[in-house]
């Protein structure tokens, strides 16, 4: 398959390129930038006038819901939705049913994903057996089967001895461990930030120390073991400042934030909107602003969708009984663009947070656009306005805080490994 992409605004955040160029794709690679190779005869020409052509997005947290969550969404539906969101590589957390704790499950998932259109799938293996926080999984075996990192997803790890040994063991193989900092006890039954809205609505609360106490433990153990740790889903100002200091001290840590936490706050839960029931909880406006600042100053390395499709029945419940999570793969790009506009950040810099920087965390050769590189490309219309409705989302998860609202920026084409996997 040879493709000629004409006249697009080509942006490569990794190199800072932002110019109108033609791109030539063959055999899964970019074979020409500006100028095509001699005698290039495309099977397809895409007119990208008015479109941005950038590396396909790299998403650090996409729940595909298989195995075990097929009532919420299917591998096929969410792979398609991710491609519709311009995503060409994704990491899926191990919180499936059963959790991704055996090589067989990883091989099956990789095999199935490989044989359907959509992004490259990088499973994150369970750090402990059944995510129960007691017995380590076979990290080396799982790594061989295709796990690029290990995590507890949103399951709590109560036993700090296990955490210490897990980091030591992971360090033995230099395997990265991804941890969502949340204390095993503080705020365990909570559903909302311990702030003005929870006080008013009487929602069981999750105080900021749920994050900072866990962070402090993790950072001390990183110092002790030298393990590579990625901190997933920061939510608070205090937590972010701890990460800033840790990075300043040279600890091998990276961190990300979910896209909804870049925009929303506890105030958005004030009408019991179950679509704003997220993990970690949406915190105060001050926390939200601190996360935005952390993105600007480089403390936060990546933005992810934290995609969690949830079926209607699990959201049509009182806030505290509803299933947490929001659909996200199709909102990652428009919401990142929205933040960049609001923050006055050039598009080329903003796109780095959803392309080459998460790719570096994943340790995969993706997220850049250069001659000879993989033809994983996202072509989007930065001006196109669209309204978020159940029908406008390809994901089976229609659970979005943005339902009914208009966003700007719509993906038109997604190429993965040189194939046109999505077209709108």
């Amino acid at each position: 398959m040879k493709v000629h992409i004409r006249n697009g605004r080509v942006i490569d955040p990794a190199s800072g390129l932002d110019q109108t160029r033609d791109i030539f794709v063959a055999a899964g690679h970019v074979v020409g930038l500006g100028q095509g190779p001699d005698g290039f005869h495309p099977n397809q020409v895409i007119d990208a006038t008015g479109l941005v052509v950038c590396p396909g997005l790299v998403d650090l947290a996409v729940r595909l819901r298989e195995p075990g969550g097929e009532h919420m969404a299917t591998l096929e539906s969410e792979m398609h939705a991710a491609a519709a969101g311009g995503i060409t590589s994704l990491a899926c957390p191990p919180d499936t049913d059963p959790p991704l704790d055996e090589p067989g499950l990883i091989e099956m998932l990789k095999f199935r994903a490989k044989h359907m259109p959509g992004p490259r799938v990088y499973p994150v293996g369970a750090l402990t057996w059944k995510l129960q926080g007691e017995r380590l999984t076979e990290l080396a075996e799982l790594n061989e089967a295709g796990c690029i990192a290990f995590s507890q997803a949103d399951a709590r790890l109560e036993n700090t001895e296990v955490l210490l040994r897990a980091l030591e063991y992971a360090r033995t193989f230099d395997l990265p461990v991804w941890l969502h900092p949340q204390d095993a006890f503080i705020g365990r039954n909570g559903v909302a930030h311990d702030g003005v809205v929870a006080a008013r609505l009487g929602l069981p609360a999750i105080p900021v120390p749920a994050e900072t106490v866990a962070l402090s433990t993790i950072l001390l153990l990183v110092r002790e073991t030298g393990a590579r740790v990625h901190l997933a889903r920061l939510s608070s100002r205090a937590g972010m400042e701890m990460v800033r200091r840790a990075k300043h001290d040279g600890l091998p840590v990276t961190c990300d934030v979910g896209i909804h936490h870049v925009h929303l706050s506890e105030m958005d839960t004030a009408d019991f909107n179950a679509n704003c029931h997220l993990v970690p909880p949406l915190r105060s406006l001050r926390d939200r602003d601190a996360l935005r600042q952390g993105l600007l100053d480089g403390t936060i390395d990546a933005i992810c969708s934290d995609h969690a499709p949830v079926d209607e029945d699990a959201k049509q419940l009182p806030f505290q009984e509803s299933e947490p999570g929001a659909t996200g793969v199709e909102l990652l790009l428009p919401l990142t663009l929205k933040w960049a506009r609001e923050a006055g950040l050039p598009m080329v810099e903003a796109l780095g947070l959803i392309t080459h920087r998460p790719a570096e965390i994943l340790g995969i050769p993706a997220g850049y656009l250069r001659l000879g590189g993989p033809a994983d490309l996202c072509l989007f219309d930065p001006e196109a306005a669209w309204t978020v409705t159940p029908a406008s989302l390809a994901s089976l998860g229609k659970n979005s805080p943005y339902l009914g609202l208009e966003l700007q920026g719509r993906v038109r084409y997604t190429l993965i490994d040189g194939h046109l996997d999505f077209k709108r």
Partner: protein, 323 residues
């Protein structure tokens, strides 16, 4: 930078009348006054008894209690009967939900039985809002308590009681004492008091029984009972749930009683003519001493009577087509 669009106040009709009673949070003062004034009209000025009026003849009111409460359900039932409505009581906690039926399925089924109004109690905050958003436009919803969020008719009957014994709320200093964190009653009281212009609303509790950011609700926070009730016109006591008496938030009922239990000696810190309210059921010897509970400053039994009148007022305003 925008935040998400808020849905319009689901409690009011487009022309600003009461459609549902879900919370006192955000309810305008004129509506609170309207309810209190209507309640007053249901009480015989000479005898102090609640009248029986044929206002809601043919109206079907379903009391659906997902969480058991004999007392509140009974007062709603009496109120509905005094209005001549048809009342159906359902304790869902023990039936459909345990069979796996969802909350909204249950509601749909009951709506199909020609219900005009649902009186709902549920253990989760926001349950009444969810139901109100879901039902057909002609159905009215009254929140009889949802989680820790709201208990609006209790808040209203407390305002009625305060107004009856002490005059206009905007002249009063009031202290709410006890487990504010877990109390839907406290939240409804605070919203009503601040909306009605109460110049000083205090909450008194140990730190473990107060939400963070309590001040954002417009109240003054006190940890010590003596200081908290000093000079107030009314003390609103809260019930301490049995399961909270020992654990991470409180060491024992005994220590709580010593520090925050309302005894005759402690009550002396309030104004000599201060009144004492309690939503019931009381834990004598835990949050309140019997001598205070049965004393002449206590207005706990009148609260119960006014509760019937206030619930009649709410139901008649909702169903009777805005008198």
């Amino acid at each position: 930078m925008m935040s998400l669009r808020m849905t319009p106040n689901p409690q009011l009709t487009e022309d600003g009348r009461l459609r549902h009673l879900l919370t006192l949070d955000g309810l305008p003062a004129r509506i609170l006054h309207q309810i209190l004034d209507t309640a007053e009209s249901f009480i015989n000025a000479d005898t102090g008894e609640v009248k029986k009026v044929p206002l809601l003849r043919g109206v079907a009111i379903f009391n659906i209690f997902f969480e058991n409460s004999t007392r509140t359900r009974t007062t709603f039932e009496i109120a509905a009967k005094r209005l001549s409505a048809d009342v159906v009581n359902l304790n869902i906690g023990t039936s459909s939900q345990s069979k796996g039926e969802t909350l909204l399925d249950t509601v749909d089924n009951l709506a199909a039985m020609q219900a005009n109004m649902f009186v709902v109690r549920h253990s989760a905050a926001g349950a009444a809002h969810l139901i109100a958003r879901h039902v057909a436009p002609h159905i009215r919803v009254v929140n009889a308590g949802d989680g820790r969020a709201a208990h609006p008719t209790q808040g209203l009957l407390d305002m009625y009681t305060l107004r009856h014994f002490k005059g206009p709320i905007h002249n009063l200093r009031v202290a709410i004492v006890g487990d504010v964190l877990h109390s839907r009653v406290a939240r409804s009281q605070i919203h009503a008091l601040t909306t009605l212009g109460c110049p000083e609303v205090r909450v008194v509790a140990p730190r473990t029984l107060l939400p963070r950011d309590m001040q954002s609700m417009g109240v003054h926070v006190y940890e010590r009972l003596e200081e908290g009730i000093r000079g107030v016109d009314a003390v609103l006591m809260l019930r301490l749930q049995n399961e909270r008496m020992q654990g991470a938030r409180l060491p024992s009922a005994g220590e709580y009683y010593k520090r925050w239990g309302l005894t005759p000696e402690k009550l002396k810190y309030a104004r000599p003519d201060a009144i004492v309210l309690h939503p019931g059921p009381m834990n004598r010897g835990v949050e309140i001493d019997s001598e205070v509970a049965d004393g002449k400053q206590a207005v706990i039994l009148p609260q119960v009577t006014y509760g019937i009148a206030v619930r009649m007022a709410v139901m008649s305003l909702l169903a009777g087509g805005q008198t």
